[in-house]
């Protein structure tokens, strides 16, 4: 900090005349100044899209935000009003299904990678597979769920969407949970072994509780990512204009609406009402994602 803090113009040079300051007009100082301004400009420009997106969401999406859009069904064609209550519910149900698969599996795998066999060949291959899944195009997770579930059951469904999202959530959970478990101090672990704990007791009673904030951070980041995914849902859950539940009985094995797919569908429609709803749905989706992100940060800070 201290060295850089002086900035380019005053960085000391010891010349023949023992001149310890460099003039602002020195060619090298000017060049440095120019590049610094260019970097500032680039950084500010990178912030422009974010500001623009948030502005549009608040202005165009905020106009319709209210209780109505959250409890009503999507409008058809020329209809006015309506909402996307079923899509909010569909997103929550499918992300929930994905979490049910990805979290236990991810944490178990992370326990193995971090504690049980960190340098075994199984761990090395699994770590490699996880890294591969991290860079996996989300649409291919959809293709997998389509081949595995939609073609087998013969219908678009919430579980198919959930499986696709689980594939995308899994690597985030594994990698962050592994890091969190590894970060538990060696002494804590040794103390537990010294008390006569079995490996499993150490893991369940010491490692996982200590690493919990870190694991939760990863879980929430995975959930936030899954909630915003569209491509894998397009042809696994498809979309629907009806409720997922009839009373309290869920109808999971049928096309299921989600916020992300609804935004996509409505964005291409020639009706103003639908376009407005697409913006409002975007606002709701971004708020959901941001709230989860902020929560994950709050939890992570406790670690």
């Amino acid at each position: 900090m201290s060295i850089a803090g002086h900035g380019a113009a005053t960085t000391a040079t010891v010349g023949a005349s023992a001149r310890l300051t460099r003039s602002w007009l020195d060619r090298r100082a000017l060049r440095s100044l120019l590049l610094t301004s260019a970097t500032w400009a680039a950084a500010l420009m990178a912030a422009v899209p974010l500001v623009s997106v948030l502005y549009m969401l608040v202005v165009r999406g905020g106009a319709r935000l209210g209780r109505e859009v959250l409890v009503e069904l999507p409008p058809a064609g020329f209809e006015l009003g309506g909402g996307f209550g079923n899509a909010v519910m569909g997103t929550i149900v499918m992300v929930g299904l994905a979490a049910l698969v990805a979290i236990p599996l991810g944490v178990l795998a992370a326990v193995f990678l971090a504690e049980l066999g960190p340098s075994s060949s199984l761990a090395r291959v699994a770590r490699f597979a996880t890294k591969t899944l991290t860079g996996f195009p989300s649409v291919l997770a959809g293709v997998f769920a389509y081949a595995a579930i939609v073609l087998t059951t013969g219908t678009y469904s919430a579980p198919a969407g959930g499986l696709a999202l689980a594939v995308l959530m899994l690597p985030t959970v594994i990698l962050t949970a592994e890091e969190a478990i590894k970060a538990v101090p060696r002494i804590t672990r040794d103390a537990a072994f010294g008390m006569g704990c079995t490996r499993t007791q150490v893991i369940l009673k010491v490692l996982l509780p200590t690493a919990l904030p870190g694991i939760l951070t990863g879980v929430m980041l995975g959930i936030a990512r899954a909630a915003g995914e569209t491509a894998p849902l397009l042809f696994t859950a498809l979309s629907s204009s009806y409720w997922l539940f009839e009373g309290i009985r869920p109808h999971l094995m049928q096309p299921t609406a989600s916020l992300a797919v609804l935004i996509y569908n409505f964005s291409g429609m020639p009706f103003d009402n639908q376009i407005e709803l697409a913006w409002t749905a975007s606002l709701v989706l971004v708020l959901m994602v941001l709230v989860i992100n902020v929560l994950s940060r709050l939890v992570g800070r406790r670690a």
Binding site: T11, A42, S52, L140, A231, G268
Partner: protein, 323 residues
């Protein structure tokens, strides 16, 4: 097991060697953890297997011709993905050029003490928020903000510079340029985050040594820090490229879905990922096989690029650790 039998009953709940039940639980839990790890491996294998076997029929029927043919006609059962491969590569490279530049600039900005810590934190949040916004929202924003804003510029470029192939058409709505711009915004956080890690790996004393030699801040950055972190930054670019190749929604909404190969930045195009997203919902059984083949092509390309990126990152981390 003998130990367990000798254990005094009073202290059973507080201390003592593990009971038979504890041993059994230990065994079960370990097996579960190992099983979970195997499941992760199996998942990746199942993904490749499912897509591969479902594509097998189409691979047999169309072979390598699929990769070089340019028609996609469901009625006549003719399929080729050359325009999609072209569009995927073209849009991703454009996005990489823009997003890579801004991402690296951002990484330098955030790691080289340009900002007081509090302000740096604000910019870090900006980058993280850029990454958090779902791609479908970017698509919507692109459709209603970027395309209208870019249109007059594009038309002016066409009128005055139309002889350059890159400006050879007008922008009639969705097209390559708005799609690539939005894609650039989406990969910026990846490039910025990984480049920051690379720059932080360069020991502070290297920078101090450069300043001690009397360099200006930018001479130190350009001649010492960037070369030292170059492998990592290159890895960041490759990973960003991989992300761009697989990105779907923003492109499906903005690129125009036209199966043509054009140099013009304003012409509509198509990408592999967009092809999958848009055609799967209404595909008949024959077309599904073909789409599975296209998915396999996308899988192969992204896998290759990501593996390359990971390998470069590992090498850069090793090189810096060895110093």
């Amino acid at each position: 097991m003998k130990l367990a039998a000798q254990r005094p009953a009073v202290s059973a709940s507080i201390s003592g060697p593990p009971s038979r039940l504890d041993y059994a639980a230990d065994r079960v839990f370990r097996l579960m953890a190992q099983g979970g790890t195997w499941l992760v491996l199996l998942l990746l294998a199942a993904i490749i297997w499912e897509i591969g076997t479902k594509a097998a029929a189409a691979i047999g029927r169309y072979g390598a011709h699929f990769l070089t043919s340019t028609t996609w006609d469901v009625g006549r059962q003719q399929f080729g993905v050359l325009p999609h491969i072209w569009g995927t590569m073209y849009s991703s490279l454009l996005a990489l050029a823009i997003g890579g530049f801004f991402g690296i600039a951002m990484a330098i900005f955030l790691t080289q003490d340009f900002l007081p810590p509090r302000l740096a934190h604000v910019f870090r949040i900006v980058v993280e928020l850029l990454a958090a916004i779902p791609s479908v929202v970017y698509g919507l924003w692109g459709l209603f903000v970027v395309v209208p804003a870019m249109r007059p510029l594009a038309d002016a470029a066409y009128q005055h510079l139309g002889w350059i192939p890159f400006f050879g058409t007008t922008l009639s709505g969705p097209g390559l340029a708005p799609a690539s711009l939005v894609l650039a915004i989406m990969i910026l956080p990846t490039v910025a985050a990984v480049s920051q890690d690379a720059l932080r790996l360069v020991p502070y004393r290297v920078k101090e040594a450069a300043y001690g030699m009397g360099t200006t801040r930018w001479e130190a950055i350009l001649k010492v820090l960037l070369p030292a972190a170059s492998t990592g930054i290159f890895g960041a670019l490759v990973l960003g490229f991989g992300r761009a190749l697989g990105e779907t929604m923003a492109l499906a909404m903005l690129i125009g879905n036209s199966n043509q190969i054009a140099l013009s930045l304003f012409a509509p195009a198509n990408t592999l990922a967009a092809l999958l997203a848009l055609n799967f919902p209404e595909a008949g059984p024959r077309e599904v096989e073909v789409l599975m083949y296209a998915a396999l092509v996308l899988l192969a390309i992204t896998l290759l690029v990501n593996l390359l990126g990971e390998a470069i990152m590992r090498r850069s981390a090793r090189r810096l650790a060895a110093r």
